[in-house]
């Protein structure tokens, strides 16, 4: 019998990853330092990494293993979520290696190959390795080619695995996404490719499925009979700072709507999957994305903007054009809003408004399901003057939770109805320290559990939805300016006003 000690009723038993190692390309980057390395330590601290786990860094810096170990140590001390424990660190540190080189350096990859083989022998990583490409997509082809040439990508032994983890952007339009997928799939079969969308690792996003499909309370009204429209917002308060040069030619729609917001839409609008197996979940997501169409005319249903100088939370900040390294003639948008319909019986006639921007009022990500007004109000107009539409808001970050907004009688001798809030706070009901998204995702890569990673088809479908908007914007010239610290350009309000709606202030 395989797995004799496992029992589905034994829910205490965590799934520890099998013998394996993680190789990170681009270890000197911000992401590696602030998220990946701390997440690896947190996993180790929670006892979820295999004994003998190995972490290998690859970068151009002239470091020895110990120098890299120090970098990881500092990153862990500064950014790890769980308390530092020397015993855990000592075990982890034994498995840290560094390989110096550039992507076009054959020797470096041969050395990496030797390092990985040595880890198999010394640490017992068993030939199981995940390659985390925390590098610009432009470098994917050369790295993939090197992985094949040096034999690192080879997966001949059925008991061993090689997996590759890639970060957004997954291309910049449908065509480039297909090219990128072709390059990666040429080396790694699709089931070995893990595309990280860190939003999907967040507890609140996974909770959308629990909220909708584990309860009887919400699903009956989760359709066009009761829902007026849906607003999905991801707002950032930071500007581009030094990243302005990189952002040029990408813009808010490509950076956020194509991946995060369309994934959130898929979770919000999808039908109930037959089961929670990765295949079933994906086929429902692909189905709903296939039914998602832009609302035309695009001139009235989409908006974009570029932040100008302004006051943000007590700080005077510069506009995009004055950010260091930015090309002042570029027309890249920092704010984007689009309107889509989901052409299914459930959602017929319910617009989904997706917006994202930098230098907005505050940092917030949320999904607001706004309900229709009650069909008949037995009150006269003065009694319900202050009553808005009911809403259910899923707060993805910060202050994760769910808010319900509905009318309640104001105390007093007259019948007056006003909006009130009912709040569920994740942090209040459960845990102060739920795992970071990257912890969950890295563990899932090592376990080979693909549920929370978008596949090829989803990525390509998302580009298909967005491409017409991007093409139109190219022809339009410069985007409208909006003052930093506000909630976006006037154009964005117009796409709501067109149908008598307004943006929620998140």
């Amino acid at each position: 019998m395989r797995y004799p000690l496992r029992d589905p009723r034994d829910k205490r038993l965590p799934r520890i990853a099998g013998p394996s190692g993680l190789v990170i390309f681009g270890v000197t980057g911000d992401l590696a330092r602030k998220k990946l390395m701390p997440a690896v330590y947190d996993l180790a601290n929670r006892g979820l990494l295999p004994p003998g786990f190995a972490l290998t860094g690859f970068a151009r810096r002239d470091w020895a293993h110990e120098d890299f170990g120090k970098v990881v140590y500092d990153a862990v001390r500064e950014h790890a979520r769980t308390p530092f424990r020397q015993a855990v660190w000592d075990r982890l540190a034994e498995g840290i290696r560094f390989v110096q080189g550039t992507f076009d350096d054959d020797d470096a990859f041969d050395r990496l190959s030797d390092t990985v083989r040595e880890l198999d022998e010394v640490r017992g990583t068993g030939g199981n390795h995940a390659f985390y490409l925390s590098i610009p997509p432009g470098a994917f082809p050369v790295v993939c080619k090197q992985l094949v040439r040096s034999g690192l990508a080879g997966q001949d032994n059925p008991d061993q695995w090689r997996r590759v983890v890639i970060e957004k952007p997954f291309g910049h339009d449908l065509r480039s996404a297909r090219e990128l997928n072709a390059i990666v799939n040429d080396v790694f079969p699709e089931e070995s490719v893990f595309r990280i969308d860190h939003y999907l690792g967040k507890e609140t996003v996974q909770n959308i499925l629990a909220l909708r499909f584990a309860n009887q309370l919400f699903e009956p009204i989760w359709n066009a009979n009761y829902v007026d429209h849906v607003q999905i917002t991801m707002a950032e308060d930071i500007g581009l700072g030094g990243r302005a040069g990189y952002y040029d030619g990408i813009g808010a729609a490509r950076d956020v709507i194509q991946n995060h917001l369309l994934q959130l839409l898929a979770f919000t609008a999808m039908e109930e999957p037959v089961s929670f197996s990765p295949q079933e979940l994906r086929s429902e997501k692909i189905k709903v994305l296939s039914a998602t169409k832009l609302v035309h005319p695009l001139s009235e249903t989409t908006a974009r903007g570029q932040y100008a100088a302004g006051w943000q939370g007590g700080e005077r900040v510069v506009g995009l054009k004055d950010e260091y390294g930015y090309n002042p003639t570029a027309t890249t948008e920092t704010y984007a809003a689009i309107t889509v319909d989901v052409d299914t019986r459930r959602w017929a006639g319910v617009p989904f408004y997706l917006r994202t921007g930098k230098r907005l009022g505050r940092r917030v990500t949320e999904i607001a399901v706004v309900f229709k007004r009650a069909p008949h109000l037995p009150f006269d107009a003065t009694m319900t003057e202050e009553l808005g539409q009911n809403a259910l808001v899923i707060r993805v970050q910060p202050d994760e939770g769910v808010t319900m907004r509905f009318g309640s009688k104001v105390p007093g001798s007259t019948m007056e109805v006003r909006d009130v809030n009912m709040d569920f706070g994740y942090g209040l009901a459960f845990t102060e320290d739920s795992p970071e998204a990257y912890e969950r995702l890295i563990l899932d890569v090592l376990l080979g559990e693909p549920s929370l990673f978008p596949v090829n088809a989803e990525v390509e479908r998302s580009w298909q939805i967005l491409d017409p908007v991007l093409e139109r914007w190219v022809e339009q010239g410069a985007p409208q300016a909006y003052p930093a610290g506000s909630w976006g350009p006037a154009e964005a309000d117009a796409i709501m006003a067109r149908t008598g709606r307004v943006w929620r202030r998140p």
């Binding site: 000690l5 029992d7 009723r9 038993l13 099998g18 295999p50 015993a87 009901a429 845990t431």
Partner: protein, 316 residues
């Protein structure tokens, strides 16, 4: 904030709680369970409260601490409410009953009006547990009852008593302390070769209930001969060996801190395996509110293990 309420009643206490809530906002709103701690003056109550508060950081709850005072005294109830910084993520209500109010029945009576509506109730005895937890007046209120065989005067007999009195919802911290050991063994068997295990040897301190439970668990899952030995004299669990045709899997923890995992054809691996503090164990217990069938089966298999002297590390 700590509010002392000497010589009081549960009605006054409830009124005070509502008053505090109106003054300072949230409190019990959104709490998802009530955690009852039953102690008497023989156990260190402050330590128990500290552990409960630490565990509740992961599971915000209302903590009710029942301190059973002197039985030969006049009837009297002293209460204390701790909220905010003094209670971590929870609110703590300490009820200290004297005289007739120190009896188990009276404790249950004082607890009922303090329970959160509809929310599950977990009770923990940090010291001596009642002989049949599920039939104890306070235990009956709870969905889940946590005992700790390791702190009882005779841990081995306490564990036998647990097996005799088991009811769904019972659990013991001696079992919780094993989770990492069990996870490591299960993961080792997740990997090839998928050989049949032929026998197992578990070694640990003579009065380590966790060692007995691990042997019981292996016996219940593998249905092969399992031997319990008593060679490693320090720090509870000492070692496990799973024998199979392709060579044994061994997990040895000589110093109570770091374990060594040995498998044929693979390098030795070191793994952090320190004894888990009570607060971590409690946090794990609060995560699971359903009955633990695996624990029950491990208890039931206790009488099927053979006991011997041979060290687990030595070859047969």
């Amino acid at each position: 904030m700590i509010v002392d309420m000497p010589a009081t009643s549960t009605q006054q206490l409830n009124r005070k709680l509502v008053e505090l809530r109106e003054q300072s906002g949230v409190l019990a709103q959104g709490r998802i369970l009530t955690f009852v701690v039953v102690t008497d003056d023989s156990t260190n109550t402050e330590d128990a409260i500290e552990s409960a508060i630490e565990a509740s950081r992961q599971h915000p709850c209302r903590v009710i601490v029942l301190v059973r005072g002197a039985k030969k005294a006049a009837a009297r109830l002293d209460a204390q409410i701790r909220v905010g910084g003094d209670a971590g993520a929870s609110e703590v209500i300490v009820l200290r009953g004297y005289g007739p109010l120190a009896s188990a029945e009276a404790c249950a009576g004082m607890t009922i009006p303090m329970l959160l509506p509809d929310a599950p109730v977990v009770v923990w005895w940090p010291g001596q547990a009642p002989p049949v937890p599920a039939e104890d007046p306070v235990g009956r209120l709870a969905n889940r009852r946590i005992t700790d065989a390791a702190v009882e005067k005779n841990p081995v007999r306490a564990l036998e008593q647990r097996a005799a009195s088991y009811a769904p919802g019972d659990t013991d911290l001696a079992w919780t302390r094993l989770t990492l050991w069990r996870a490591l063994l299960a993961s080792a068997l997740d990997q090839p070769p998928y050989d049949e295990i032929t026998s197992a040897v578990v070694d640990g301190e003579p009065d380590s209930p966790s060692t007995d439970l691990l042997a019981g668990w292996l016996r219940s899952r593998l249905t092969v001969p399992v031997k319990r030995t008593k060679v490693g004299a320090v720090g509870g669990m000492h070692s496990v060996r799973l024998n199979r045709a392709s060579g044994p899997i061994e997990l040895i923890r000589p110093d109570g801190k770091v374990g060594t995992l040995t498998q044929p054809g693979q390098p030795q691996r070191l793994v952090t395996l320190g004894r888990r503090p009570v607060r971590d164990c409690l946090a794990e217990e609060l995560r699971r509110l359903d009955q633990d069938e695996t624990y029950e089966q491990a208890l039931l298999a206790l009488h099927d293990i053979t006991r011997g002297r041979a060290p687990a590390g030595a070859r047969r």
